[in-house]
């Protein structure tokens, strides 16, 4: 196997959130999935597409999906691409911009999968820390990396950079600035308009979170047509199957349902944050469907284990910079009451 890159052979691979085998017995607050089902119109669209036509190849361009996204976000079709999860876009943005040995950057902490994707491509990684006031530490006047990922709202902390701050950051990136807006539907603002204003900005979205479609694998990106064309060139030819395409169109077109779910999750999140604060937890303000909460003794592992023994699954990060807290996804009001009750018992 002398032809293989040693780095690939040695790769450890990304460790995603634990998925228990007996899922139904658990309260799963560890992967930021939406507690509400997808829109009934989405389920109807999937059912309607579930027929003998599944024998046929899907539309390789996903035209209907692009049109729906373009109409929703106010861009023309050639500024939009849909993908097999936003993971596919994050992967292909690296492949499109960074060669082997080139550098890409992102914040620490943020979506840890960027590092795995960089490793797959053989790209080098540089990370920057930031403060609770969203100050990025030691960021150069002009960052020379080929691509910089800004998870906004930040995961796992929930902090959200303003549009002005992101615009300023884009001026300080020589390469692409990819604003990963996986959770933007849960936050007050977003950077969609920056795509028009700034040459180097790409906004990515996922339908996994706010649209409750993690199982369908749907993401999208809005950026300049040149970048879209490059992403189209390197993607898997039939990257989206028939059911995913049907689901995407129905989901993007049912904004009423989306806004209602998002409003409920956000209300529950803000209430949950206050309740945690009453119990002595330190909780950062969050623009996502999760909060990052530190118990008074700053021992995340202890609380994680105690919740685990009660079959409540939250996300614990062993990274010393994060081990003082837990990322807790926001479920329904009832689920969060159960969680609070458990946290009260744990103390």
């Amino acid at each position: 196997m002398s032809y293989l890159r040693q780095s690939i052979i040695d790769m450890a691979g990304y460790v995603p959130g634990f998925q228990p085998p007996d899922e139904k017995d658990w309260l799963k607050l560890n992967t930021n999935e939406n507690p509400f089902p997808p829109s009934p119109r989405v389920l109807a669209a999937i059912q309607a597409a579930t027929n003998g036509d599944l024998r046929k190849y899907p539309d390789a361009t996903c035209r209907a999906g692009r049109e729906a996204a373009a109409a929703l976000y106010g861009y023309s079709d050639d500024w939009v691409i849909l993908a097999n999860g936003s993971d596919e876009l994050l992967n292909n943005l690296i492949r499109a911009s960074a060669g082997e040995g080139d550098e890409i950057g992102f914040l620490n902490p943020s979506y840890s999968y960027y590092a795995t994707l960089a490793e797959i491509q053989g790209a080098k990684v540089r990370t920057f820390n930031f403060t609770d006031e969203r100050e990025i530490v030691d960021f150069p006047d002009l960052y020379q990396g080929k691509l910089f990922f800004l998870t906004n709202p930040n995961a796992p902390l929930g902090l959200t950079w303003t549009v002005d701050e992101v615009a300023n950051l884009s001026d300080r990136c020589a390469g692409l600035l990819v604003v990963d807006e996986a959770y933007a539907d849960f936050s007050d603002g977003n950077c969609l308009d920056l795509v028009r204003l700034k040459q180097n900005v790409v906004v990515t979205r996922t339908l996994s979170k706010s649209y409750s479609l993690a199982g369908m694998r749907l993401g999208l990106a809005i950026t300049r047509p040149e970048v879209i064309a490059a992403l189209d060139k390197i993607r898997d030819h039939y990257n989206l199957d028939r059911l995913a395409q049907a689901a995407a169109v129905a989901a993007l077109e049912d904004q009423g349902y989306l806004l209602n779910c998002v409003a409920q999750v956000c209300a529950t999140r803000d209430w949950f944050r206050e309740e945690l604060a009453k119990r002595g937890y330190h909780v950062l303000p969050s623009g996502g469907n999760y909060v990052f909460a530190s118990p008074p003794d700053r021992n995340g592992r202890r609380v994680y284990d105690s919740l685990y023994s009660r079959k409540i699954l939250v996300r614990y990060f062993s990274d010393p910079a994060l081990s003082h807290g837990l990322r807790i996804s926001i479920g329904t009001r009832e689920q969060m009451e159960v969680t609070l009750q458990a946290l009260s018992e744990i103390g």
């Binding site: 196997m1 690939i8 999935e33 369908m216 990257n239 199957d241 028939r242």
Partner: protein, 370 residues
Amino acid sequence: MMAATDLVPRVENAAYVVDLANNENLMGPSPLAIEAIQREAAQVYRYPDIDGTPLLDALAEHYETETEHFMLGNGSNELIDLIARQWARPGTEVIVPSPSFLPYGSASQRAGAKIIRTGLRDWHFDLDAVVDMICEKTSLIILGNPNNPTGTEIDRGTLEHWLATIPEDILVVLDEAYAEYSSDQGLGLALLKQRENLIVLRTFSKAYGLAGLRIGYAIGSPDLIRIVQSQRQQFNVNRLAHTAALAALKDQDYLLRVLGNNVVFKRILYAGLSDLRIAHVPSFTNFILLYCGYALATSEALKTYRLLVKPLERFGLHEFIRVTIGPPETIERLLIALKEIQSEQSWFPVSECPVSVPKQPCSGEKLWRY
């Protein structure tokens, strides 16, 4: 000669378009797969299993081996791409016996390798030519068997003998997208026992009738599978594709019906082609290569009958079309259309009687340019 676009549509008796261009299974997937999707649909808010383990386990059971030998792709197309990214690196050479499925070459080229094409001998890959092209830069050989678009297969003895001559450090990929239709369904798996550095690709797109769902799989040693896995993104196959493929795999009775039908359909088609004296290459798949003199004009003419077929000029087969083998009513429509085109167009040949296999075009440089 009449330009294809001058042909007047004549479709009064053809109520709908039949797509015979993509080698899809016209019977569609197992009804159990459809039901399984309907049951699972409400669960789509959950991420899929990251590796598709229940399906991998079922595949392992089906093939009587271990789960570690399998991985899933978003169609075998994705698997070809993942393999190319790792093995077809700049500075290497990839041998692609041709004509064959176009992504073998395009994925390898995109990954940076130099593509070396070898040709056919009597409609079968010239395996000696492949051996002749091996050099120290050769990292990968991608072989379709049964092959698309020829529809031919290479027998087990020949492949075993050939594989033994390929240096161990070269990865051989055997794409068995049509294996279910072939005369030797266990071929790839048997070869894996012989050779370590081999990956076999299979798909649910063809005989299982699930092209619309994008799911295929690779079989190989756990070490090789781990390397291909490391190239893929997490969650590359969605929840409903997992569900449908698992149900389809478990419904082997339905698969047997599909395969049994294909045998019958083929017999009907062969008889009709013989009557019309249209030369063709005997098929070990669900599609067939027809000699029609002028590929593009024939495919355009067939469109006026609302029949879509694949003209093969991009494969260097300018005189051939590829047609999916369908049920009797589709075959009848095809034969009626071909008969009319044949009688009206001087370029459409009438073969000798009895019909022989068409002469294979030479695969000179002009055809296999890269």
